[in-house]
């Protein structure tokens, strides 16, 4: 899975979590704001109702009152109730609360109607109380009380009036009722004076009115203050809290879900992290563990052994079948390695290079590493690999090592393999020394190139009929720092590996030309196919040929026949070009490598140099003579000149002369020397 994909999923989840948190937060905030708002509105109704009650009390107690205040308070309660009743939040989800609030509103309306009635009763009672005071005042002012009875009558009126005021201010219905008898008695009494009598009649009327109104007044008063009104409001509020608690539960659940969502998000992110961790240790193509995983395992574990498996000539397979098929082969091979029977302890499987696979396992001291390697080699080939319907089981090489560092030693062993496909690393292989030697050689070669210590040597070639020197072969020599001269041969491989080869070739070619120009006779110069396909090298050759005029007619280029020549076209082009300068072409080491007669004919070479490995055994091996004779007969027919190399003794010299080779070279005749020998 792609990292960017994981990142976007993770950030999406994170974004989702944050968004839901934000939504949840604003939802709860909003919810609590509304809830608190409603609670406050309940409180507002309660307060307004209390204020109204207080105003009523005020009105009943004080004589002079402003009834506008009562009406104002009524309006305030009504407004507060209506506000709450139409609160959107309440409308949305609290039908029971609203129903109970409706009940309260009905009671409130009744209360308000009662208040209007109470106002009437209250006023009448106030007026009566006031009027009684006025009447008493008038009676006293008249001052025409005649006798004791009338005096008594006046006192009785005063007593009743006083009691009425007490009863009124004490809200004492009993006291008021107890006056009933006294007032009835009073109705039979009379004043003599008509004015006084008139006042008495007024008083009696007032007594009657107040006694009639007082129970109504008390009743209205207690109805206004009926606790069931307050209870109705409290019920509605309680219902609201109950309903809200249910909503709170919902919020609770929601928060649980949110927490779970968070944990889930984290789990997914952790899962991704683990996956990524694992993926960096996996080879994407074969799904075996990769080099990183290998490094980690060997750093943790001791007593490990490594079996390194390499697909032989995988590059060729790739070139032939294409990269896609090559990948298939790698996958199938990996699959085979992973699933084949392997008796090692705790094996882990890796792809360690392009076509290098490794099996890492625990090896105890009494176990034989080689038997495990052998097991791998033999078991692997038992399982065929089929690609595109063809069996393409690759041939593999197996190297094994239990010496640290495992991979390097196993790899060295693998590289060092000669004939067998199985190599076990052991100190006797001297692989480390070889590598060390190679390093020294690279250093020596570099130093020699830089310090002009690469020199051409010249080995004379003798015409076997005349025994005269007809030409020289140019051989490269390296002069060591101590002055000793060595063959370049051990350095050639190193030069190719370390990118010094072309510099080496060009140096020898340039120096050879310089020497050749100053001497007469023919000279053959060795060229490898690498030189021929290298444009810079061929350019230098052409430049030399032009620079030294007719030198070309004395130059023979020896092309190594043993090499697998792939680019025949380039080769043909080169040969054609060289012929224009009058150069001749020889095939070197003929008989050792591919010895393709058809090619020789096609290239129309001038000289065949018969390989030293054939010449050397001519005096001891009859078969060698037959082969050389065959070559000779071919060369004669094709009018190609022949040269025998490595003629090291007289016997061989005699044989080559007898069977008809044209020329020969070797230690029997001349060793290579810094200067050519004049013919």
């Amino acid at each position: 899975m792609k990292l960017s994909y994981k990142l976007s999923v993770a950030s999406l989840l994170g974004l989702g979590a944050v968004t839901s948190l934000f939504l949840f937060n604003s939802f709860t905030k909003n919810y609590f704001a509304q809830r608190n708002g409603i609670s406050l509105e309940f409180k507002a109704i309660e307060v307004a109702d209390r204020k109204l009650d207080y105003q009523i009390l005020n009105n009943s107690f004080f004589l002079y009152t402003n009834q506008d205040d009562v009406n104002q308070k009524i309006k305030e309660v009504q407004y507060a109730t209506k506000t709450l009743y139409y609160n959107p939040h309440l409308l949305e989800g609290h039908p029971e609360t609203r129903h109970l609030l409706q009940k309260y509103t009905v009671l409130l309306d009744q209360k308000i109607q009662t208040i209007y009635e109470f106002q009437t009763f209250n006023t009448v009672i106030k007026n009566t109380s006031t009027a009684l005071l006025v009447l008493q005042q008038h009676l006293i002012e008249e001052k025409n009380i005649r006798n004791h009875d009338e005096q008594k009558l006046l006192e009785e009126i005063n007593r009743i009036s006083g009691s009425i005021l007490l009863a009124k201010n004490g809200m004492d219905a009993n006291l008021m009722a107890s006056l009933h008898l006294s007032t009835k008695k009073l109705s039979h009494k009379h004043f003599n004076d008509p004015k006084n009598e008139e006042l008495l009649q007024r008083a009696l009327q007032h007594f009657a009115v107040i006694q009639q109104f007082f129970p109504l007044y008390i009743n209205a008063f207690s109805q206004i203050h009926n606790p069931k009104i307050a209870i109705a409001l409290a019920n509605s509020q309680k219902m609201f809290l109950d309903e809200s608690n249910n909503e709170l539960e919902f919020i609770n659940y929601f928060s649980y879900i949110l927490v779970i969502l968070f944990i889930l998000t984290l789990a997914i992110i952790i899962h991704f992290l683990f996956r990524t961790e694992r993926e960096i240790r996996l080879d994407t193509l074969t799904h075996l563990k990769n080099r990183k995983a290998y490094e980690e395992r060997i750093s943790r574990k001791k007593n490990l052994a490594l079996i390194l498996i390499n697909i032989n000539k995988f590059k060729h397979y790739n070139d032939f079948y294409g990269i896609k098929s090559g990948d298939r082969l790698l996958i199938e091979t990996a699959h085979n390695i992973r699933h084949m029977k392997f008796s090692g302890v705790n094996p882990t499987y890796y792809r360690l290079g392009a076509d290098d696979f490794g099996i890492l396992f625990e090896l105890s001291s009494n176990q034989n590493l080689e038997s495990f390697a052998q097991e791998v080699l033999s078991t692997f080939s038992q399982i065929p690999i089929t690609i595109d319907g063809e069996i393409r089981t690759p041939s593999i090489s197996v190297a094994a090592s239990d010496s640290m560092p495992l991979l390097e030693t196993a790899d060295m062993a693998l590289k060092s393999k000669k004939q067998s496909n199985l190599v076990i690393y052991h100190n006797g292989l001297n692989l480390r020394k070889i590598i060390l030697d190679n390093m020294t050689k690279v250093h020596e070669l570099k130093s020699a190139l830089e310090n002009n210590r690469i020199l051409p040597y010249f080995q004379p070639i003798v015409n076997l009929s005349t025994l005269s020197i007809t030409k020289h072969e140019v051989l490269a020599r390296i002069v060591m720092e101590d002055g000793s001269v060595r063959s370049i041969f051990p350095y050639l491989h190193i030069a190719k590996e370390s990118n010094l080869y072309h510099a080496l070739s060009r140096t020898i070619i340039t120096k050879s030309f310089e020497v050749i120009a100053q001497h007469s006779g023919d000279f053959s110069i060795n060229l490898s196919i690498d030189d021929i396909v290298d444009e810079e090298t061929t350019t230098i050759i052409c430049q030399m040929l032009r620079q030294y005029g007719t030198i070309g007619q004395r130059i023979i280029f020896e092309i190594l026949e043993s090499e697998a020549i792939e680019d025949y076209e380039k080769l043909t082009q080169f040969i054609t070009l060289m012929r224009q300068y009058g150069c001749r072409i020889a095939i070197d080491d003929f008989g050792s490598g591919y010895s393709n007669f058809a090619h020789i004919l096609n290239l129309s070479v001038d000289i065949l140099k018969i390989d030293g490995s054939l010449i050397r055994y001519l005096d001891t091996n009859e078969k060698a003579i037959t082969i050389v004779e065959t070559i000779l007969s071919f060369a004669t027919r094709a009018s190609i000149e022949t040269v025998a190399e490595f003629v090291h003794n007289e016997a061989v010299a005699d044989i080559v002369k007898r069977i008809g080779v044209h020329s020969a070279q070797g230690f029997y005749f001349y060793e290579p020397a810094p200067k050519p020998i004049a013919p």
Binding site: F62, L63, Y64, T65, N66, Q67, D68, D69, V70, N71, Y116, E117, Q119, T120, N122, T123, V124, K126, N127, T128, T130, A131, L133, V134, L135, Q136, N158, R159, S161, G162, L165, N169, E198, R202, Q205, H206, V209
Partner: protein
């Protein structure tokens, strides 16, 4: 005697409470555009069936906002049963009509228009007439943005105009604000107004208009079944002869008096109230003083103020 003393002390305590009458505010906030339109409607006979009567016909702005006659004349010359209450300061009443059957000014405003005895114009018809008048139609739309004129819109405009019909700065109001002094007689009248018990019903901004009370509370009066008392609404025996207390603001200007216009003079009205509702026969002196006080309740006439 001791008791009398106690009574006086209690009375004095009561006197120490805040004044039961409150001055009229100098201005009630109102929407000028609506009030202007309301005023136009108030004086326009278009709202009566035969184009003869306006609101102002009965609520005579130059006669204390009430009618000079005992029983106002409606369309086709019919007589209205109830005395016309003043339109002045009606905004301060706790409810409208004699029996308080309208809770607000706008509720009241429509009543007389469609009352067959008064302006006799069905409300839908009234709306149609205004709709047909391009000037009204435009003005209404400008204010309400409603596609058509509704009776509610009409009521709203008139009610808005009525908010301007207040009479502040009466002598008594200025006295309450400490801006002037009352004469000795006026002070005595005010004292009587309180001590006799008039103030129990007549208090607040409107010196009345804030509670329902029984006409003839102490000495009952005859009940006329045709009148609009509380009984007409509730049908409760007790509510017979119970009315909304009328305002005493500008009372000197709004004769005749009472729901049935039974008193032609203020003196008579005061005397009747004293007898039937306080159970007292007021002396000539007391009546004089009370009327002197009541005269101080006359405020500035809205037309003089001309705020629009």
């Amino acid at each position: 005697m001791k008791i009398i003393l106690i009574i006086f002390i209690i009375t004095c305590n009561c006197l120490a409470a805040a004044e039961p009458i409150v001055p009229i505010p100098l201005l009630v906030p109102y929407n000028s555009a609506k009030a202007t339109l309301g005023k136009k409607l108030f004086f326009d006979p278009i709202l009566s069936q035969d184009y003869t009567i306006t609101c102002a016909s009965c609520h005579d702005i130059s006669h204390g906002g009430a009618d000079r006659v005992s029983h106002s004349i409606g369309v086709h010359g019919t007589q209205v049963i109830m005395n016309t209450p003043t339109v002045f300061n009606a905004v301060f009443n706790f409810s409208q009509f004699w029996n308080g059957r309208a809770a607000t000014l706008s509720e009241q405003a429509l009543g007389p228009i469609h009352n067959p005895l008064e302006m006799g114009l069905p409300l839908r018809e009234a709306a149609k007439r205004l709709e047909a008048n391009p000037e009204y139609k435009a003005t209404f739309f400008k204010i309400t943005k409603h596609p058509t004129i509704s009776p509610d819109d009409i009521a709203q405009m008139i009610a808005e105009y009525e908010k301007t019909l207040i009479t502040p700065n009466g002598k008594f109001d200025r006295y309450l604000r400490g801006q002037t002094r009352l004469s000795s007689d006026e002070m005595q009248g005010y004292a009587l107004f309180k001590t006799l018990g008039c103030v129990s019903c007549h208090n607040g901004v409107n010196v009345g208009g804030n509670s329902f009370q029984k006409m003839g509370a102490i000495i009952p009066i005859h009940h006329n079944p045709n009148i609009d008392d509380r009984y007409a609404i509730t049908k409760k025996e007790w509510d017979k002869n119970i009315f909304k207390v009328p305002t005493l603001r500008n009372i000197s200007l709004t004769a005749p008096y009472f729901h049935d216009s039974s008193s032609r003079t203020l003196r008579d009205a005061v005397s009747k109230m004293g007898y039937n509702n306080l159970g007292l026969k007021l002396s000539k002196k007391e009546i004089d003083l009370l009327v002197t006080f009541l005269d101080t309740l006359t405020g500035e006439r809205p037309l003089q103020r001309e705020q629009l």
